[in-house]
Symmetry: C2
Subunit: 466 residues, 2 copies
């Protein structure tokens, strides 16, 4: 068992079982699920169980000048949870208490290690709804969701994680415990520190408790699919849906690459001859059928070849499941394309104003040709948020370079169209340069000033975001 | 005409007409509408027309070490816009351009001096909706609404100003121009600087452009009033409405003091024998009648003596107008109570978790007795956000002291019930001590660190919030 003064202090404060130094465990905690990001080997992984143990951990790390890298379930896609060599990884996975669910205030209070699906299920039992539903929702934690401001498919109607965070408890780099926000529906007392910490990717503090707002349970939704002969037509349909004042509860896009990959992965009769498919839902109760008919009409007018309405909840769930299989299906496609096991995916994340969606889709197709790399596109079309996915041969540096070039070209195009370099995956290590381009030198200076003000020792997740 | 090097520079940069030094105008710009707050006499009032002129103004003030106090329409209720002696008041009222309304992206881009009602009207013409509706909406500016994170009656369903601010252009104390946020529906690039500036009351920067999110136009709403024999019963009704998962588009409370004041101010047949009235609306289209019936049933079950549904839009508008007359009616009541003209009002603002609303209402009644001061209560009951209003004799220091004591007791009770010292009016000068109590010493230190990081010279609105 490794022994250093820091490890001794941690073991004394938290007990042996919370302080992991086994080399296999250290390797397991090196990185999240991001591509293209460097990761070091931590000195130690610490699993505190409560706020006091987080304070003890951060204070010990600060005394020894060892950087602290907060981690949740490591499902992130930007490298924000990646370790640096010699760091202390502070894993919140042992902080799993749901402390309170209050149906009148419509809030829940949870420790950061509670899994999204666990919270969603617990509040559903009381007729309530926690909307944020990132693709990782069955394994990712609320703490990680808050630190990355996770999105999902519900966002087109219900918004991203930040819209549901009312208050936080945060351990600062000094070891001080800060409480932000409130339990009330409304409140404007002081600077909005809650929102400052949401999405700050562990660079400003370690989140130890989250107060989330809940909604009444949504009604059952009706679902349709619209099949298009061009991605441009699908993008046009999305713009028209927005312009008509419709707000579907789901509006997702799958391109042909994805349709074929999903159909190969798990055959379900998807139209693999189509160029794009839109999946839409309405959960507006007595008017859902009308809303769905309007959505169908707008898709047809925009050039859909076929519009098909799910006849029951089972069929609707199957369509949603097809969408949720997009990423594993693409992983299988990469494995089939490179049978020697060298196939890999580079996942991008870009958001543009809805009116620019069709141009963004055209541009990605052009980039695929120019960069000579297969790119599939899936995404939250209703938000203008796309995930282009490059299929590359990891054994071939030229292939990876082509994928990386496509990634950069997509970022460039997204910004040129008035978009942002990340709709929901975050900056982490992956997009630091693109963040700097997006926010400009004044924005970078303000970010640095805030980071220095809150974490002058640069103890917390150094090198991320900035 | 006064002449100092600063004034000369301002006149050279902005022209004479934008640089006001007339003593009457200086007096007019001393304060907003808050009670109990000190205000000094500015050296100059500057009315820039564009961002470049704001930059020139801030840089000139910085060179001469003259504090800058940003002002909108001065309708604020916490003294955040009050001048200090010798300050430069930077009024944004000449920055009135609506630069863009985009129905597909559902955004508008405006200069800060655009009046709320002007924006609301302009977007309504395109079938869109800008929800935030502070009581001052016919005169207050978007810049002021953003700087104070203004609320209103719509918030119970549609949220406060911050939920509609996607991006900002801000002139920092250094004179640098910062752009925050985005035009996209979704985005998580970097720290949420947009939300940091929203509600920061001019202490971190001067807002020069706002990108707001819009919603589709709401549907016509149905309205009811429920009359209660006790405020506690009204508070119970609100808690039950929330617990049942209902989200009315309006849920306002008026107590007997207000009902009588409004009826005296403009007779409209309100039940002045009631202890409290709830005004509720549903804008849920085909299900609005059902929702209203459920609201009515819950009010009756909670003890309402009478529930009355408006039969048409004209009647509904009249009920809403009664609510909007609450404050002028109370002003008239103060004038009638003290015919020598010394009557005044001390307006408070507190928000508690909905489940604590009945206890808060009981507590305010007890405080009125204990402090021997008449207190009327009006508020956004659905948010747990109340405005207790103390009627005092400004010519009698003992009366003002009783009002001030009641104000403090209300703050104390609000915090004890898990609430916040300001639901929507802000901190300004009025609630600095209460903010410090609410956020604690760590919270105060973090606020100070952020203020120092962004405005190291303490040039911008010094003495406010902190």
């Amino acid at each position: 068992m490794a022994a250093t003064p820091l490890l001794d202090e941690l073991r004394a404060a938290l007990g042996e079982s919370a302080v992991l130094t086994d080399p296999d465990l250290l390797r397991m905690h090196q990185r999240d699920e991001a591509d293209l990001c460097a990761a070091g080997t931590p000195l130690v992984v610490v699993r505190p169980r409560d706020t006091g143990e987080v304070v003890a951990t951060v204070r010990a790390a600060a005394r020894h000048g060892v950087p602290v890298v907060p981690q949740g379930a490591r499902t992130g896609l930007a490298g924000a949870a990646n370790a640096v060599d010699g760091a202390l990884v502070l894993s919140t996975v042992a902080m799993t208490e749901i402390r309170e669910i209050d149906p009148v205030a419509r809030i829940a209070v949870v420790q950061p290690g509670v899994v999204n699906a666990t919270l969603a299920g617990a509040v559903a039992e009381q007729g309530l709804y926690y909307p944020p539903d990132p693709g990782s929702w069955e394994s990712s934690t609320i703490g990680g969701n808050v630190a990355t401001n996770a999105g999902g498919m519900c966002c087109v109607k219900y918004g991203v994680t930040s819209e549901y965070v009312l208050g936080l408890e945060v351990v600062l780099g000094s070891g001080e415990v800060l409480r932000t926000g409130r339990r009330t529906a409304k409140g404007v007392a002081g600077y909005d520190l809650t929102r400052l910490f949401v999405g700050s990717e562990g660079t400003l503090g370690v989140i130890t408790e989250v107060t989330v707002a809940l909604r009444p349970a949504p009604e059952e939704s009706l679902t349709l699919v619209a099949v298009f002969g061009s991605t441009t037509a699908a993008g046009t349909a999305v713009a028209r849906i927005a312009a008509q004042g419709l707000t579907p509860s789901l509006l997702e896009l799958l391109d042909r690459t994805h349709l074929r990959a999903i159909e190969a992965y798990r055959p379900m009769g998807l139209r693999t001859d189509a160029e794009a498919l839109l999946l839409a839902a309405a959960d507006t109760g007595p008017r859902a059928a009308d809303d769905l008919a309007r959505l169908a009409g707008l898709c047809t007018a925009a050039g859909a070849d076929e519009v098909y309405t799910a006849t029951d909840a089972v069929e609707a769930a199957a369509l949603l499941q097809a969408r949720r299989l997009a990423y594993p299906a693409m992983e299988q496609l990469a494995a089939r394309t490179y049978p020697d096991g060298s196939g890999g995916l580079i996942l991008d994340d870009v958001a543009v104003p809805r009116g620019a969606l069709a141009r963004m889709l055209d541009g990605v197709a052009r980039i695929a040709v120019e960069c000579d790399v297969p790119i599939g596109v899936v995404g939250h079309a209703g938000d203008g948020n796309l995930h282009p996915i490059m299929v590359v041969d990891r054994a071939d540096p030229a292939s990876v370079a082509r994928g990386r070039r496509a990634f950069d070209e997509i970022m460039r195009l997204g910004l040129a169209l008035g978009g942002t370099c990340t709709g929901e995956h975050g900056v982490g290590l992956l997009k630091r340069e693109w963040l700097a381009r997006e926010i400009g030198p004044v924005g970078v200076r303000v970010h640095q000033a805030i980071k220095s003000a809150l974490d002058p020792a640069n103890l917390l997740n150094p090198g991320k975001v900035l």
